[in-house]
């Protein structure tokens, strides 16, 4: 019983934790595309900064994933 509830908790931890970063990465990419459309010459720089910012945003989802893994396996 305890194990079942822990499974639900792990699922909720990563499921809820992925919402924010998902929206964030979507917004980042849409803005980057907009910038690319306005100024195609700056493509390389936009792409580099976009990947960097996505890495930061994604890190928050990774924190949730770590919590989920801790709940599940430790």
């Amino acid at each position: 019983m305890e194990g079942d509830i822990m499974n639900v908790g792990a699922g909720l931890a990563i499921g809820l934790g992925a919402i924010g970063p998902g929206i964030g990465i979507g917004m980042l990419a849409s803005k980057a595309m907009e910038a690319l459309g306005r100024n195609p010459e700056a493509g390389a720089q936009i792409q580099q900064n976009m990947i960097l910012a996505i890495a930061f945003t994604e890190a928050i989802a990774i924190y949730a994933l770590v919590v989920a893994i801790i709940i599940k396996f430790v």
Partner: protein, 387 residues
Amino acid sequence: MSKILGNPRSIAISIICVAVLVISIFGGALGNTLGFGFFASSLPAIQLPAEKIVDGFNTPVGKWDLMNTMVTTWLAMLVLIVVSLIIRRNLKDVPGRLQALFEVVMEFFLSLCEQIAGKEKARRFFPLVFTIFIFIVAANWMGVLPGFGTVGRIAGPEEIAHHHDAHDYHDPALVTTTHESKESKAKHHGSDEAQEDGHDSHLGTVKLHVFRDYKTIPVAALSPGSLEEELTFSEYDEKNGNVGEGKRAGHLVPFLRSANTDLNMSLAIALIAMVMVHFWGFSILGFFGHAGKFISFKSGPIGFFVGILELISELGRIISFTFRLFGNIFAGEVLLMAMAFLLPLIGIIPFLGLELFVGLIQAFVFAMLTLVFASMASISHNDGDHH
């Protein structure tokens, strides 16, 4: 089209591809639910802390054990040292391929440092930033090599029970059947019975895996077809520790595990980076110049609390440094394991590429953040007011 199909070699290749696809879909854990699963090995027991390979020795500050992540760290260091020695010995005006690669990477980072920190400070920050980058890249990319996480020693049931805080568990296979030990076994059984509940809550969900027992060499690997043979602790007790001829139950403790899946490793790099950032802050701005950012009485109570907040955010930086790297790499390793478990042979291939990319990006992010923090720490807050 008919030319391609008519070629016997391309027919052979496409037949092999289809065969591999079918084997991996029906042979893996996915196929196991359909009643096949002949190729599926059990999913390795995922452990957060690094695992012990060899018992170490006692030192004045505590016991020192050889952990599997430590071995990988040493390997990464060895690779970097050997590569740097090779490049150093063959330095030429007209670079060869290896030298050219490293020149490109180094120039990229040096120009990045100059962009962010300015020409003067760039030379000062560059060695640490670049060292962090190449070390993390080497350590991360090593983690996707074959053999990492799949070959190791077997941890017996008693050791696993010990990890799950069931210290009074005794492996029935190891208890000899002399009269004396039978008595003590009976006693233990009685005491086990008394605290059955506590015992079960720790070990009830833990699965033991079955490995082939090579008596002469203490090496084990996950073997295909072992998924069906998983058993729980109570089943193991019922069988009296006898899981079959030439087989042993337990968990796999890999000899090699990606270095940054150990929280200690990423914390150590984060601490080195932040200590150096503040060292540069103190040495460039002077003691009071740098400490004044955190504890200041000049601008009233609000300024004081802003300083305290800055101090807390410095701690937050260490934590986010640590967990960003650790989380990405650990999640990647778990992902690779799960895909190899679900779809053996092919499921893992796209994710290997993803892991190479993630390893590079995380190393780059770590180095970049160190650089940005260093250049922020070396700029005085009051520059605008006084000059």
